[in-house]
């Protein structure tokens, strides 16, 4: 395998969780929900998938993968639903609650891999390997590239179609951009629609976690997410919250992370530089958008 080929494979493997969490963030932001908690939802999904993956009997074959993915989706949805419920019932700012839930998920996973779910030798802070039936099939033989990438692309296309052509997607967009008009002119139950989008966003992020476990790590580790949920914000914003665009920006950031990893190994540039670049991308995107918007407002 050539070096370029290896880079492309690595890039797409890295891009897979970023595209999916990017979709989760884009969906939430479109609905006017500031879900900064894709990271926690990712961890919840990964934890559930790993737990299923180590618990199911090996004999059920590929059913294990399905169950693991479904478990991940449900766990991510529940993790987001806590914040959605706190928001609708108590008016708790979701920005704060989702960040708190990120920390809680991190410590929760840390507790599990050092406690109830720790591998039998009790040496490493991780679970045992998941059953082989729960492994995501390989897309390109001889590489690490798995079908998760295809799922990510398919999810993006579905999300794009739903937002553009379905009545539900229209309600989500209307509620997000102007909840007052959505309520008054569209008679839309805005809080229900946004809560739905919030939970769906968590479900998608949870799926990303499940795919990461079934396609890459095959076990749950401490710090299984190097901050995917935060990178996802840059991915989504750079794509202009367009699901199809998220495929491109997700791959771009996948490349960035791959390169950052390589550079750290080879020339000692810290990998934290990647998050600096992400932050600069976000700031650049909002600066451009804001300067343009300010120009429009002053001319109106």
């Amino acid at each position: 395998m050539t070096e370029t080929m290896a880079f492309v494979v690595d890039m797409l493997v890295h891009a897979t969780p970023l595209v999916i969490t990017g979709l989760a963030v884009a969906l939430a932001f479109r609905a006017g929900v500031w879900n900064i908690g894709a990271d926690g939802q990712f961890i919840a999904g990964a934890t559930a998938a790993a737990w299923v993956g180590v618990s199911v009997p090996a004999g059920i074959g590929w059913l294990a993968l399905i169950i693991a993915l479904v478990a991940g989706v449900i766990a991510g949805a529940i993790w987001a639903a806590i914040a959605a419920w706190l928001r609708s019932r108590f008016g708790v700012l979701e920005v704060i609650s989702t960040i708190m839930l990120n920390f809680i998920a991190t410590y929760g996973a840390s507790f599990l891999v050092r406690g109830p779910l720790q591998e039998p030798t009790h040496v490493y802070p991780q679970t045992s390997g998941i059953v082989s039936g729960a492994h995501m099939p390989i897309l390109l033989r001889g590489t690490r590239l798995h079908w998760g990438f295809v799922i990510a692309v398919a999810l993006a296309v579905i999300a794009w179609w739903v937002m553009k052509y379905s009545a539900t997607g229209f309600r989500v967009r209307a509620s997000g951009v102007n909840p007052f008009a959505a309520r008054s002119a569209g008679l839309i139950d805005v809080s229900r629609v946004t809560a739905f989008a919030f939970v769906a966003s968590g479900a998608i992020a949870g799926m990303a976690g499940a795919i990461e476990v079934s396609g890459v790590t095959f076990a749950l580790y401490e710090n299984i997410s190097p901050g995917y949920g935060y990178t996802a914000i840059a991915v989504a914003l750079l794509a202009g919250l367009n699901p199809l665009g998220v495929i491109g920006t997700g791959i771009l950031f996948g490349a960035l992370e791959t390169a950052a990893g390589t550079m750290q190994r080879n020339i000692g540039i810290p990998s934290t530089t990647a998050s600096v670049i992400e932050a600069i991308v976000i700031l650049a995107v909002i600066a451009v958008a804001q300067l343009r918007a300010n120009r429009v407002t002053t001319s109106a």
Binding site: L86, V92, M100, F103, Y107, T272, L283, I286
Partner: protein, 306 residues
């Protein structure tokens, strides 16, 4: 047991101090109608700044440089959220990301990738005569690093400034109704910018406290979400400077519990204690629902059109 209680209370005040600094600053920022999610960034920048400053000129130079770094990070946020009127949530998140990544990178650049466990001078607890003799709370409140005493002075000063000066009145008016403040001749953007800088300054000192009064070293990501917890403390303190300081004590207690339990030899998993302040934040935010009197224009970016 008396000793245990006293040690626990001392721990409460010690862990509450950086939270109280950050929450006090954020209270002023939010009173001007701006919610600075990038506070976490100011804290971590302050922590690194403290290490650098202390390396050159000792503990107080460390605090000074921490404040400058916290302010610098807040200035980036203000540039976007105040000057450009960009979304405050997104700007704040990006600034946090920038500062967390930037400090990690700078630290390794400055001190090598091994991140040589660098030790800085720290403040020893200074005992205040007489006051420290008060039973039970005396030692807890008055045998603390001197930065804590700076906080004791700062809270009433900020309180007085907010409620008993025209400048404080103007600040509160901007957070409630910016159009009214502007019409009264107050320059809303300027005041908001300064309020954000003040929040960043205290955020920086908060980070400095973590290093110079507690850890004695810098660790990547050592702010550990304190900026976000501070924002919750502001809500719990009902946007009142004194309220924020008192609410910080509650969170100090939550963190101090783990030392207390460790000392008593409990075998509850430590992650439980680490997660406890975050759970408490959620519970506290939910519990204050409906009783809050948040500044009416908090978080709004569309305010000039009225």
């Amino acid at each position: 047991m008396i000793d245990g209680t006293s040690a626990f209370l001392e721990g409460v005040v010690r862990t509450a101090t950086p939270l109280a600094f950050a929450a006090l600053g954020e209270t002023v920022t939010e009173r001007s109608g701006i919610i600075n999610i990038g506070l976490e960034g100011s804290i971590i920048a302050g922590a690194l700044g403290a290490v650098v400053g202390a390396g050159y000129g000792g503990v107080w130079a460390g605090f000074a440089f921490a404040a400058v770094c916290g302010c610098a990070v807040a200035a980036i946020f203000a540039l976007f959220a105040v000057t450009l009127r960009a979304d405050q949530i997104i700007s704040g998140t990006a600034v946090t990301l920038l500062a967390l990544g930037g400090t990690g990178t700078l630290y390794r650049v400055l001190y090598g990738s091994a991140g040589a466990a660098l030790n800085t001078p720290t403040l020893d607890p200074a005992s205040i005569p007489l006051l420290s003799r008060i039973p039970v709370v005396g030692r807890a409140l008055f045998v603390q690093p001197s930065i804590t005493y700076v906080l004791y002075v700062l809270v009433p000063v900020v309180m007085w400034w907010t409620y008993r000066t025209h400048a404080g009145l103007g600040l509160r008016a901007i957070g409630e109704n910016p159009a009214a403040a502007t019409a009264a001749g107050i320059r809303a953007k300027k005041v908001q910018f300064l309020a954000v800088l003040f929040g960043g300054l205290l955020g920086g000192i908060s980070g400095g406290t973590l290093v110079l009064a507690q850890a004695g070293t810098f660790v990547e990501g050592m702010s550990a979400g304190r900026g976000f917890i501070a924002i919750a403390i502001v809500v719990l303190g009902r946007w009142n400077p004194l309220g924020a300081a008192l609410a910080a004590l509650v969170f100090g207690a939550a963190s101090a519990l783990q030392f207390f339990f460790q000392a008593t030899g409990s075998n509850l998993p430590y992650q439980l204690f680490l997660a406890f302040p975050y759970v408490l934040t959620l519970v506290a935010l939910a519990a204050t629902h409906g009783r809050t009197n948040s500044p009416a224009a908090l978080g709004r970016q569309d305010f000039e059109q009225s």
